[in-house]
């Protein structure tokens, strides 16, 4: 590698070290690319500048299923304002998810994380898990699980992030 590249790498490492010491509260959302239900691939990089809500769900998870219609409403309401919802399905075998989505269709992109790469990347420790990523690509809020009433908090956080 050239000297210039070395300096850039060193600088990046330094910045990372400093940022990890200073602000674990706004870590960068790890980037990823996953196949979507529509057939194309979606990557997080493409969505920089938008407020992104990642929802890790599975068709076998009761609270996830309860949450989905509410997420659909949120996506419809705010997608024109620069908000997008990505449903990351964590099932290795996606047939049950496809079947469930036929009965309960959603309009936001549903991505398939069949080998759990993104689940591991985001250290998913509860089902469902919801991650809010701001326009700059930082993780701002993390929700573990879903209980009726949580959607109120989601809406507040979406509005707060959209204002930025």
């Amino acid at each position: 590698m050239s000297l210039g590249k070395w300096i850039r790498v060193a600088g990046l490492c330094g910045a990372l070290a400093v940022s990890s010491l200073v602000g674990a509260s706004t870590p960068m959302a790890p980037s990823f690319t996953l196949p979507s239900r529509g057939g194309d691939t979606v990557s997080l990089e493409q969505l920089k500048g938008k407020v992104v809500m990642l929802n890790f769900w599975a068709s076998w998870c009761g609270p996830c299923r309860t949450e989905m219609p509410l997420l659909e409403q949120m996506h419809k309401r705010y997608s024109s304002l620069g908000f997008t919802l990505l449903g990351v399905n964590v099932e290795a075998d996606t047939r049950d998810a496809e079947r469930w989505l036929q009965e309960t269709p959603v309009s936001f992109p549903v991505l398939f994380d069949r080998d759990s790469k993104v689940s591991k990347l985001y250290d998913v420790s509860a089902m469902p898990s919801t991650v809010f990523i701001d326009r700059k690509g930082n993780i701002r809020y993390l929700h573990k699980g879903y209980k009726p009433g949580d959607e109120g908090e989601y809406l507040n956080q979406i509005r707060a992030l959209l204002k930025e």
Partner: protein
């Protein structure tokens, strides 16, 4: 005999709860890997009315009783 069992019960509990105290061991089945465990055929007691009845059928005719519990598993959600 009561004391002996009580000691064993406490020991069993301590052993089980020490699993959580062990910060060095990470849960080896992640929440997103519970597809099979969440399957309805893996539910320990899917028909409570039926199993309560069968437990009664046996207990009324046998000397033994007890230790019929067993739940857990499932989706591990929330």
């Amino acid at each position: 005999m009561n004391k002996g069992i009580a000691v064993r019960l406490v020991f069993a509990l301590a052993l089980a709860s020490s699993l959580s105290a062990c910060g060095n061991i990470e849960p080896w089945v992640k929440p997103y890997e519970r597809q099979q465990l969440a399957d309805p055929i893996m539910v320990a007691n899917p028909n409570p009315v039926s199993s309560a009845y069968m437990d009664h059928v046996y207990e009324a005719r046998e000397g033994a009783r007890g230790a019929l519990g067993g739940g857990g598993g499932g989706c591990g959600c929330n």
